[in-house]
């Protein structure tokens, strides 16, 4: 019974894993007792991300939201990037429509923020190395975010999952991912430096603690 259930319900199983990963993260956030100021700053970053997705709604699949989430990850650390990514995806779907894709978008954008937070710590991406940062951003969108979002459509299309079907879905998702990557590239090229300067100034002005604030 249980083996059959596991095989036939890929979608439910993967959703369960995603939700558990969120639960672990959010409970650790709850335990940490964040300051009001830190909580509000991250909420505003999420709001800017959501607003940026809403502002470009007329260009299909052109989402600067990922870039804003990546910038948050760079400025406030990996955990903050994860948090802002997950919550912005959830909240922006109040505008664009919730559905079975919501948890997948949440984990995809959360991972984008997380990865950029980690890469910033390693020094691979930096606000002074603009072109390198933007290129890495585009690659992350195609190979991490895009792959996760396409995986979602594999499970929700309701067909039998075969190798050929998976290939078809990934190939048909490629143009969409490329538009998304271009959006991220442009946004990172233009906004990365000024945005992080602004956030650093904010941290300095209001004496916010250190690099990692979550």
């Amino acid at each position: 019974m249980s083996a059959k259930l596991l095989n036939s319900h890929y979608y439910l199983l993967s959703i369960a894993i995603i939700l558990i990963s969120f639960a672990v993260f959010f409970f650790s956030y709850e335990k940490k007792k964040p300051q009001a100021r830190e909580l509000v700053t991250l909420a505003v970053m999420s709001a800017i991300a959501v607003a940026s997705r809403a502002a470009f709604v007329m260009i299909p699949h052109f989402k600067p939201m990922t870039a804003i989430i990546m910038i948050t990850g760079m400025a406030f650390g990996a955990k903050a990037g994860f948090m802002v990514g997950a919550v912005s995806a959830f909240v922006s779907n109040f505008i664009f429509g919730q559905g079975p894709w919501t948890p997948w978008q949440m984990i995809a954008y959360a991972l984008a923020g997380l990865i950029f937070g980690l890469l910033r710590k390693k020094g691979l991406v930096h606000e002074d190395k603009r072109i390198q940062t933007a290129t890495i951003g585009a690659f992350v969108v195609i190979f991490v975010v895009g792959i996760i979002l396409d995986t979602c459509s594999i499970f929700t299309m309701g067909a039998v999952v075969t190798k050929g079907f998976i290939k078809t879905v990934f190939l048909s998702g490629l143009p969409v991912n490329i538009i998304h990557a271009v959006a991220t590239l442009i946004t990172l090229l233009i906004l990365c430096k000024p945005m992080i300067d602004k956030l650093n100034r904010l941290k300095l002005k209001y004496g916010m603690s250190g690099e990692e604030i979550v």
Binding site: Q35, R37, L39, V40, A47, A54, V91, I95, I190, P194
Partner: protein, 300 residues
């Protein structure tokens, strides 16, 4: 009384059970009951808009079954062969129809959810699990429209000095756009840091602080929960008796319809229609009472 006048927890229970049952019961009678109920409820809640969407979903569901039958060839009862030489079977057509209608029904339930469960209810339900996160989301939901309003204000005042986002040539416009964005981000961030400071002064993060909510769990809610769970128990027993199982591959196998299974169908229907019935009865009583009151006033 609309269903959203009840406690949010009850709305959550109802929609969770309804969607779970719709997705997991592939039996045609259970599925058609769910389809009819979801159709009626979203029609009642969203009127013409709901009707248009529901018809679209239904047509798409039927189209999906045709597409499915064209590409999947399991089953023993052939109808005809298509031009490549593949068989189109009754079983694959029926199974495609079941999947298509299930998806249509779930989309109809989602329509009801969007109408009834608003963002503040989501925040309230989240607040039970994680108060910090719920505060985070409520700050976020408030600031998204505020950012739009502020962008407009900045734009209007910058138009006064000839630097609006629609003034000058293309390069000027892009430049004006970016300086507006810069102002917007700085202003919003700093303003919210100020409000965070004021939150701290008013005792945020102190012990014993409770979250505000306008919902309370009264006797009417308790009654409804008891009714729901009675229905859910009977539906669960239907699952245990194997009333909801059906096989489509290699041929359609389902159990006989006995008087007992009719009882299960009726209970399932009652459960799904309960919010709709409550709303209709509430509206009917309201209109009747308002007529009576109007008569009494005229007599005086």
């Amino acid at each position: 009384m609309r269903f959203d006048s009840y406690h949010p927890l009850i709305n959550l229970i109802y929609f969770t059970v309804a969607i779970a049952c719709t997705v997991s019961f592939q039996h045609p009678i259970f599925l058609s009951i769910a389809f009819i109920c979801a159709f009626a409820y979203s029609l009642k809640l969203r009127k013409t808009k709901g009707l248009v969407w529901n018809l679209t979903f239904t047509v798409l569901g039927i189209a999906y079954s045709l597409w499915y039958a064209y590409y999947n060839h399991f089953g023993v009862t052939g109808i005809r062969t298509n031009f490549i030489g593949n068989r189109i079977t009754v079983e694959s057509l029926a199974y495609g129809l079941v999947i298509g209608i299930t998806i249509a029904t779930v989309l109809m339930w989602l329509q009801c959810i969007f109408t009834l469960i608003t963002a503040d209810k989501v925040v309230y339900l989240f607040g039970r699990i994680s108060p910090k996160l719920s505060l985070f989301i409520s700050v976020l939901l408030r600031s998204v429209p505020r950012i739009g309003v502020r962008a407009k204000r900045i734009n209007i005042s910058r138009q006064g000095i000839g630097k609006g986002s629609h003034q000058g040539n293309v390069f000027d416009r892009i430049n004006h756009m970016f300086s507006m964005l810069s102002i917007l981000i700085t202003w919003t961030m700093e303003d919210f840091v100020e409000s965070a400071n004021s939150m701290k002064s008013r005792g945020y993060s102190l012990k014993g602080r409770t979250a505000f909510s306008i919902y309370r769990f009264d006797n009417r809610d308790r009654g409804l929960v008891i009714g729901f769970f009675a229905c859910v128990m009977i539906i669960v027993s239907a699952v245990m008796f194997g009333e909801t199982y059906i096989y489509y591959d290699p041929m359609i196998v389902m159990n006989q319809i006995t008087p007992v299974s009719v009882v299960f169908y009726v209970v399932y229907g009652i459960f799904l229609l309960l919010p709709l019935t409550l709303q209709i009865v509430g509206e009917w009583r309201f209109s009747r009472n308002s007529v009576i009151i109007a008569k009494n006033i005229r007599k005086k």
